[in-house]
């Protein structure tokens, strides 16, 4: 790696690479504005695109599947670029209820079976996936109250960094709690709902 560079520039570049000095974003902005002096060949470009596509596919499969209805429905709607006003008449749900659903603010048990069937058909969700998400979301909504208490406790801390770390921990706690078994009565209610949904499918 023979170089013909100024020794001071070399030293400063090393300091930049090691994160000891910054250019306040000037260098980073320059890179995007500069016309590249080296052009990669079509072959290398295509090879890289294929590599990236393979990596994208594998990262997609590794990515955590949406566990709640809210994240799933929101992701699906954004991915398909659907507008709420086009969607709601076909699902037979009011916009308020749908928004609550997208934010996991309402138990899925409060939506009628026929509406869930419409949602399932419209988004082409496999029944077992839908059941699992309904189960998970109901647990989440059920345990949300205790999560709020946890959040309130952590919010009282003044130090912001500590607060951020604790909030993250609290979020983990929420999901851990959401996997806890529901009380028997609540579990029976959920099972009955899911049975009814499955029967409707038959």
């Amino acid at each position: 790696m023979k170089t013909k560079r100024d020794i001071v520039d070399q030293l400063l570049q090393l300091a930049y690479l090691e994160g000891k000095i910054t250019t306040h974003g000037l260098y980073e902005r320059t890179v995007i504005q500069r016309k590249p002096v080296v052009q990669s060949s079509d072959a290398s470009r295509n090879a890289l695109v294929q590599q990236l596509e393979a990596a994208l596919l594998s990262s997609r499969s590794k990515a955590v599947a949406p566990v709640t209805l809210g994240s799933f429905l929101r992701g699906l709607r954004e991915h398909q670029s659907l507008q709420l006003q086009d969607l709601l008449p076909r699902l037979g749900i009011s916009s308020n209820i749908y928004k609550l659903l997208e934010h996991d603010r309402i138990s899925p048990l409060k939506i009628s079976i026929s509406s869930w069937r419409k949602i399932q058909r419209f988004f082409q969700i496999p029944l077992d996936t839908l059941e699992e998400m309904i189960r998970r979301t109901h647990q989440l909504v059920y345990f949300r109250a205790s999560f709020r208490t946890t959040l309130a406790r952590y919010s009282a801390r003044r130090n912001r960094k500590v607060k951020a770390a604790r909030l993250e921990k609290a979020a983990e706690e929420l999901f851990a709690r959401a996997t806890l078994p529901l009380p028997e009565k609540e579990q029976q209610r959920l099972d009955a709902f899911l049975r009814a949904l499955a029967d409707e499918d038959v």
């Binding site: 570049q13 090691e18 994160g19 320059t30």
Partner: protein, 213 residues
């Protein structure tokens, strides 16, 4: 071809849309390759591998990326990954070949403006960096090479703000026009004073590293 926004690339990548890979390559491959080769003097083959690594890291870690302030966040994130990969290459290079020794001797001879003492100071810092790079490569620990360059940052801190910006940015070939906009100085002024500021920096550095030889 119309330029695709960063927001769009991120949205497509997160949705698993394959077209995002093409957009990412169109946007970054040639640019990063040019930076690695012409600015950081990474050999062509290593540079190609480096850029592939950077873009693969972008794709595989996209789920951890979130926009916080603006559309430019994504570009800054890509540049941070790029910088870290170039740093790793530099550390390996410092460890295997040595940095100062790999300079083209004729280029050093042409640097009449620098005295022997000044060159010895730079050489001693680079040797310290090489030693710390060796330990960081061998032990797999990150960030040890930084200590050897602490004196560079401290010396810059002792200079005026516009001088610091000028030196830092010109070492990365940021155009004078852009530095002028940032510092409020004229382009002509910056061009004239660049060499002098460099000399001043080396003088201050020599005072801080007195026992270089």
């Amino acid at each position: 071809m119309a330029r695709v926004s960063n927001q769009q690339i991120v949205r497509e990548l997160k949705a698993g849309d394959r077209i995002a890979c093409r957009h990412l390559v169109d946007m970054y491959q040639s640019r990063l390759l040019a930076e690695a080769i012409s600015l950081f003097h990474v050999p062509q083959l290593d540079a190609e591998e480096l850029v592939n690594d950077v873009l693969l890291a972008v794709v595989s870690k996209i789920h951890s990326f979130e926009f916080k302030r603006s559309d430019g966040d994504f570009h800054n994130w890509v540049m941070t990954i790029f910088r870290n990969r170039v740093r790793d290459v530099m550390r390996r290079h410092a460890f295997t070949d040595g940095l100062y020794e790999s300079y083209d001797e004729s280029a050093l001879e042409n640097e009449q403006a620098y005295t022997h003492i000044e060159r010895d100071v730079v050489r001693s810092i680079l040797h310290r960096y090489e030693e710390s790079a060796r330990s960081s490569v061998e032990e797999g620990s990150a960030g040890k090479g930084v200590n050897a360059l602490q004196v560079v940052a401290e010396t810059l801190d002792a200079m005026e703000s516009w001088e610091r910006v000028l030196l830092r940015c010109r070492s990365l070939e940021v155009p004078y026009e852009q530095i002028a906009r940032y510092t409020g100085k004229s382009v002509k002024y910056l061009k004239v004073y660049h060499a002098r500021v460099k000399k001043k920096f080396l003088k201050l550095l020599t005072q801080r590293v007195p026992n270089a030889s």
